[in-house]
Amino acid sequence: MTTLAQAPTEVAAPVKATRTGDRHHRGALRWVVLVGCAVIAVLMLAPFVLMLINAFKSPADYSTHGPLSLPTNLYFTGLTKFWTTVDFPVKLWNSIWTSAAVSVLGTGLSLLTAYAIGVGRVRGRAWLVAVFLLANMLPQEVLLYPLYTMAQKVGLNNSGWSIVIIFTVIQSAFGTYLLASVLGTFPKALLEAAALDGANSWRVLWRVVFPIVRPTLAVLMIFFFIWTWNEFFIPLVMLTTPASQTVPIALSSLQGDRLLDVPTLNAGALVSLLPTLLFFLFFQRTLTRGVTAGAVK
């Protein structure tokens, strides 16, 4: 941070400096600023690095050399212990299918509603958008207990489907808000041309609107997937049996376990992080585009 504080004053001071002098000055400063940014990057990565070097230590190695040393030799028992005690493949599959279902269903639902609001310009659309926005803003606590009792009544407690239904609606509330503003500025000429050709609204949606907003839909799908994957609060309450739980819940259930050694905990955290990390590396560009799409409105 100190380098960042220095940067403005040092550049700002020689206002009347000659061009060459200024450039020379920047040459040295360049490295100072770069090192500053790199230090922050290292601090951001430090927890990941600590997790990595402690995931492969034996408990004995950990207790003698502490958390900061490199492992003396690679020890995979922590990893396999975590894998089998939490029955990891089951949790992984639960996370994958619920997140995938929410991302597809949520995007579809968002598209239908946003089509009616943005292209159909239904009456009272301003209110509708406000309701959807409000729905997304609500704290989950205010829905939790009723949803919990409702799920019990229809027999969906302890089922991934409860997660799919709830998050399809919550995420699509955001999706509707975002897509409605995108579709509100949809080129009129295209819609009129399609109407002249005698296309009905269903055809217009799939032949005209859908191909054009496909990139935005892809971004929404990726976000819905990641958000659902990371969801904690509602899955924690809804999924009480181990067979139905998702990866984050399985991981946090280990926490209170006194018998568990630190390397196993780190191995578990590492394994739980890997799918997200791969997803991140794969979709990095789309993700940054998506964060921005959500912000610009």
Partner: protein, 312 residues
């Protein structure tokens, strides 16, 4: 519109009516999963209820008046203010500086690839499941086996604190984790906002002899105002709602030092079996969120209007 004959008008109305069909699935889903549960929660909050099959007793606004005398409730909202500091104020300021430095300096003087690599690094904690972040930080802060105290020991601190275990350090430790999680979000948004700014503005300012800091203050900050409002709004709501980091790091303790409203309502629902009371906490939290969001939105509209008038 007024020139249109009633016939055309009716035809347009009929064309529009089709779109209600598209609205149907969304509205039904919204009603079933959000509106009805929200209504039920308010209904619960007017009762004394242990949950499940136990009988409900009408209590009117009793739960709400009880809240007024509940020290834990007040301290949970006091902690919400600290959550806003850790999730909105500090990350936005750091993100603003990082974005400006990455975009304006690293991007131009070192290379765009370095800038986007650093941006990805800062964003990484944003995509990791909070449960993973919580587990790892919980261990880093652990008094006996954690790496932070191991580090402090190695530089000669004999008695480092029990970070998450003592009431005086738990809140700052939680705040540190939240800052770490949040930094990437404003950084990424501000960087894309800066791409939107016309480079000619900067060139003109540079020709007039304005240094980096002058340009930052006179051009960057006003130009990215819309994004600043969006970040403030979304992060403030997130800060008021925060649950998972508290659950995995401290469970509101020690001695309520990190209690937040959402965790307090969870606690009442499941640990204390005071469902009505928990529902009242959740309703109050919702009310606070809606009011805060409305105020931020109002400020944004007013500022946008002022800017427009200023241009004229």
């Amino acid at each position: 519109m007024s020139v249109q004959t009633p016939r055309v008008h009716r035809a347009a109305r009929r064309r529009q009516a089709v779109y209600w069909l598209y609205l149907l699935p969304g509205v039904i889903a919204l009603t079933a999963v959000i509106i009805v549960p929200f209504g039920l929660n308010v209904f619960y909050s007017l009762h004394r209820w242990k949950g499940g099959l136990s009988p409900m007793h009408w209590y009117g606004f009793g739960n709400y008046t009880d809240l007024l005398h509940d020290a834990a409730f007040w301290s949970s909202f006091r902690n919400s203010v600290w959550m806003i500091v850790a999730m909105v104020i500090v990350p936005t300021l750091i993100g603003l500086i990082l974005a400006a430095v990455l975009f304006d300096y690293i991007g131009k003087n070192v290379g765009n690839r370095t800038a986007s690599f650093l941006r990805a690094t800062y964003y990484l904690p944003q995509i990791m499941p909070v449960a993973v972040a919580g587990i790892v930080w919980n261990w880093i802060f652990n008094a006996e086996t954690g790496s932070l105290n191991a580090m402090l020991h190695s530089i000669g601190v004999a008695h480092p604190p029990n970070w998450l275990g003592s009431p005086s350090t738990a809140l700052p430790a939680v705040m540190l984790v939240l800052v770490w999680i949040q930094i990437g979000y404003p950084t990424v948004i501000f960087m894309s906002a800066l791409q939107r700014v016309d480079p000619e503005l900067y060139e003109a300012a540079e020709l007039d002899g304005a240094g980096w800091f002058r340009r930052f203050r006179a051009i960057t900050i006003p130009q990215i105002k819309p994004e600043t409002f969006v970040i403030t709004l979304t992060c403030t709501i997130a800060a008021l709602k925060v649950f998972a980091p508290i659950y995995v790091l401290t469970r509101g303790g020690p001695e309520l030092s990190t209690l937040v409203p959402s965790y307090y309502s969870f606690l009442n629902f499941f640990d204390k079996s005071k469902v009505g009371y928990g529902a009242a906490v959740a309703t109050v939290l919702t009310l606070v969120i809606v009011v805060v969001a409305a105020v931020i939105q109002l400020l944004q509209n007013r500022s946008a209007r002022r800017d427009e008038e200023g241009v004229r």
